[in-house]
């Protein structure tokens, strides 16, 4: 039995279906991300779990208790808002203590718990500061401490890192994951940032137009995307359009002048498919030695990597190679491209 179960959750705003028949089971202690472009229904889903939006149909069961129609203030969930939503007129200490105060915890115990929470997010020196005196990252940590101090069964994070600058965001990602592991709180995070979702989640739920399109571990999601949308949304991918030429133990896909042998079940001969090929799985070899040759039409230095755009018979392909690993061909140079068969995924 899973800890938090969303079953056939549906939300209409007027005639507009925002979340369509969403089902998800979350285990205790798990970190699950809802990933998707804006307007895909991920935030609405979170709001239904939090109790700020009423589900049109479907149910939410937390630890055996049906909370679908429970009021927001009776659910006891910890929530970190995108805007942090700190109480601007209260000190950091009072912000964090508020939830405990509402639970009528005695003052001495309350102090102890708040101090522990502030220590966890390294904010002890700021306990008497007011939110407006803190930096974005510090506010974020106050919000996290405030949500965790009540020891909620589930922690909900609504785009928690989107207001931070890139460097701080990366730092906070790891800190967030570290704290979540230590405390062991079941966590659902909403994000539109695929790197963020992949780097800190146990499982990622990809949503598109109100529907779940794939639920998987980050590695599998990246390696085995189930649709063109996911392969393009999660990381970068070259999509090679083709047709199924033959099926058998291995499917044969024809694309342009080439034939590829790939794993594929349930394909119909003649069906239009796409092959997804990650740019970092392609290697440079000498011209004529690889699967096909191409010209470097442009190359970009990204610091740790080089990104090359190649003109080939299959159209434009992006190739990424690690800086320092191999010689990077110059612009205009003709080179061979090689990759192993298992680097390609068939997408219907």
């Amino acid at each position: 039995m899973s800890f938090l179960t969303l079953a056939n959750l549906t939300k209409f705003y007027g005639a507009n279906c925002v979340v369509n028949d969403l089902s998800l089971r979350v285990d205790k202690g798990e970190f699950v991300s809802l990933l998707g472009p804006s307007g895909c229904g991920k935030t609405t889903t979170l709001q239904m779990v939090a109790g700020f939006a009423e589900a049109t149909s479907g149910s939410i069961v937390l630890d055996g208790r049906d909370i679908t129609h429970a009021s927001a203030n009776s659910r006891g969930l910890g929530i970190v808002f995108q805007s942090y939503a700190l109480f601007p007129h209260m000190s950091v200490f009072d912000n964090v203590a508020f939830g405990l105060e509402m639970r009528r915890m005695p003052l001495a115990e309350r102090r102890e718990r708040v101090d522990e929470a502030l220590a966890m997010v390294h904010l002890e020196p700021h306990r008497t500061s007011y939110p407006r005196e803190l930096s974005g990252g510090q506010r974020q940590r106050v919000a996290l401490a405030r949500a965790l101090v009540i020891e909620p069964p589930v922690l909900l994070l609504d785009e928690p890192l989107s207001n931070l600058d890139a460097k701080l965001r990366e730092e906070m990602q790891f800190e967030l994951r570290h704290i979540q592991r230590k405390v062991g709180t079941t966590t659902i995070m909403v994000t539109h940032d695929q790197t963020e979702a992949m780097s800190i989640s146990d499982r990622v739920v990809v949503m598109q137009a109100g529907r779940v399109t794939q639920i998987d571990e980050p590695f599998r999601l990246y390696e085995q995307p189930q649709s063109r949308f996911i392969s393009g949304f999660v990381g970068k991918a070259n999509l090679i359009e083709g047709r199924v030429a033959d099926t058998g133990a291995q499917a044969i896909i024809s694309a342009g002048p080439m034939l590829f042998e790939v794993d594929g079940v349930g394909l119909l001969v003649g069906a239009a498919v796409a092959l997804s090929l990650r740019p970092e799985r392609i290697r440079f070899v000498a011209a004529g030695q690889g699967r096909l040759d191409g010209h470097v039409s442009a190359r970009f230095f990204l610091g740790s990597q080089w990104l090359c755009r190649m003109d080939t018979d299959l159209g434009e392909l992006a190739v990424v190679c690690t800086n320092g690993d191999a010689r990077v061909p110059a612009e205009g140079e003709r080179v061979g491209l090689q990759w192993s068969g298992d680097a390609m995924r068939v997408l219907r």
């Binding site: 939090a50 109790g51 700020f52 009021s71 927001a72 203030n73 009776s74 659910r75 006891g76 969930l77 910890g78 929530i79 808002f81 995108q82 805007s83 939503a85 700190l86 109480f87 601007p88 007129h89 209260m90 000190s91 508020f98 939830g99 509402m102 639970r103 007011y130 407006r132 405030r146 949500a147 009540i150």
Partner: protein, 277 residues
Amino acid sequence: MPWALSAPALLLFGSLLLVPLALTTVLSFHVFSHATGVQDDFTLAHYAAVLGDEYYHGIFWRTFWVSALTTLICIAIGAPEAYVLSRMRDPWRAICLLVVLAPLLVSVVVRAFGWSMLLGPQGPVNQALQSLGLGPVRILYTEAAVIIALVHVMLPFMVIPVWTSLHKLDPAVENAALSLSAAPFTVLRRIVLPQVMPGILSGSLIVFGLSASAFAIPGLLGGRRLKMVATVVYDEYLHELNWPLGAAVALLLLLANLVVMLSYNHFVERNYKKSMG
């Protein structure tokens, strides 16, 4: 350049406020006699007369408590009203806002006569009270009538600043409090109210200041016997023709108003400054 831009405002301020104020101040020190009018000699007698006479003390005290009570009632009605308004959706919000602002669109004299008809001995209010077996009650020409009418006129001056500060509120903050198990009323008291205090403060200052110097409403609804400071000034100028005494009373009202408003501002700021920045 900034000086040039503010020149029209400075000119207006100087010629229409500072000059008359200075003239009034000078006037209040002139000797007055009923036989010969305003003399060229100077005296402090008018101030001494006002400050030493219980008659004037009573009028100043009444003006103060009527204004203070008006302010309190405006807070009690206006703050929740602004909250409800801010939660409404259009078109209801626009309609309700118009209703709130309506008193400002009607002339103060017309409005005051309307109130005197409503509150008079034979008015609908008294008839209703009588049918309930509670009347007749004397409302017109008492402080109650003045306060009722003042609250009606002053309400927009409370609603608008509170509404403005409600606009600055992040709606997620209320949700955050709810998620921490606060009851809806607790959210209002502990989260919303402290954040709209600046609005309530500026609303109170406007309402108190305007009420303390109100003339038409106390004059028309308080009647001839129930005097407030502004009506006394009017009487001194136009009935007694003792302009210097009237000027002295007017300046003392200005002074008292300033003292009350500054100390209230100081008191509230001390309590909220730290948190509201």
